[in-house]
């Protein structure tokens, strides 16, 4: 591997940008592709994008060549707005499933180290926090406050991002009101509401299971839409 390729891989890691390294196994030639960039252009782009989505590296064989497709994805993240009861179950579950979890709640009576000892917490306003966190295609965003003045700014920021999952807590009626408030925005169908897979969840722990199940489904099976 050329030094320049190694340096490019390391720069992408620092910038949390997805890269795919292609190695021709016969000649040893290597090429670096950035499939998430809007101007990405490559004969194998579709294949590379699905490898990125599946987070799967493998040998792509054609009649006269063998190419190792190696995916370097940034880590999975879950951003939760609302340090509520459900979050107390969702945080450790998501961490077990490999997510770095970030909790946003400006109400320090909710979002504090006593209630959430092992989690990154920010007490900033959601839109300010989201600006710093910059959700990417490996990020899920979950809104659990029930409070439009907290949830809505985070929703607006999420819809402008590449987040692979956006879910908002609330009944069908609450969600309809939410969609009405946000009706000037595009891609509202990206929001899952009511949140979570329908598994008949009743208590906060079960709701956390249904949310993580839905996130997993979008991560592994792709877009709901």
């Amino acid at each position: 591997m050329k030094r320049i390729t190694l340096d490019q891989l390391n720069r992408a890691k620092s910038a949390k940008e997805t890269t795919v390294l292609l190695t021709d196994l016969k000649s040893g030639e290597q090429e670096l592709v950035y499939p998430q960039r809007p101007d990405a252009d490559h004969p194998l782009l579709d294949i590379l994008k699905s490898a990125v989505r599946d987070d799967k590296s493998y040998v792509h064989a054609t009649e006269n060549s063998e190419t190792f497709i190696q995916v370097f994805n940034p880590p999975l993240r879950l951003i939760i707005v609302g340090a509520v009861h459900i979050s107390q179950f969702l945080v450790p579950m998501a961490q077990s499933a490999g997510y770095e979890v970030i909790l946003i709640d400006p109400r320090s009576a909710f979002g504090n180290k006593t209630r959430f000892p092992n989690c990154n917490i920010t007490n900033e306003w959601p839109d300010e926090a989201m600006e710093v966190l910059k959700p990417d295609h490996r990020t899920a965003v979950v809104l659990l406050t029930h409070d439009p003045k907290l949830d809505d700014p985070a929703l607006v920021a999420s819809l402008q991002s590449d987040a692979f999952y956006i879910g908002a807590l609330g009944s069908k009626r609450t969600h309809a009101k939410r969609l009405d408030r946000l009706k000037n925005l595009n891609n509202l169908e990206r929001i899952e509401g009511p949140i979570g897979l329908d598994i008949g969840a009743k208590n906060p722990a079960e709701i956390a299971v249904s949310i993580l199940a839905s996130i997993t489904k979008d991560l592994r099976h792709g877009d709901r839409t």
Binding site: R3, L6, K13
Partner: protein, 115 residues
């Protein structure tokens, strides 16, 4: 079989370490799992870095083949021609030593160029 301690450091962190090693003037080889069959403990894409003093970080198996990979890596550091290594544990042998990992694994080993 006693398994050596294998690092779970993520692939990219290892590449940052590899760059540092190169800056320090060490010779460095990169070993990458490219294919697995059967039950292998490390997926395709797992990497290990090796320097000329056989310092290794990362892993390409649960510790079963690292020794052999290091030997090859030393040669590849020398002549610079990348190669594919294949390792297998056939089922019978696996049963004999009581190993569940009756897998086959292909590892691509290449030299990291200093410039």
């Amino acid at each position: 079989m006693i398994e050596p301690q294998v690092s779970e450091t993520s692939a990219e962190d290892l590449l940052k370490t590899a760059a540092r090693w190169l800056d320090e003037g060490r010779q460095v080889a990169l070993a990458t799992v490219i294919k697995t069959w059967g039950s292998s403990p490390r997926q395709a894409g797992s990497i290990m870095i090796i320097d000329q003093n056989m310092t290794m970080l990362g892993s390409v198996s649960g510790g079963c083949i690292e020794g052999a990979v290091i030997q090859e890596a030393l040669e590849i550091m020398d002549h610079g021609k990348a190669g594919i290594l294949e390792f297998g544990v056939d089922d019978e042998q696996a049963w004999d030593v009581g190993l569940a990992c009756g897998g086959t694994i292909q590892v691509y080993v290449e030299r990291l160029e200093a410039a």
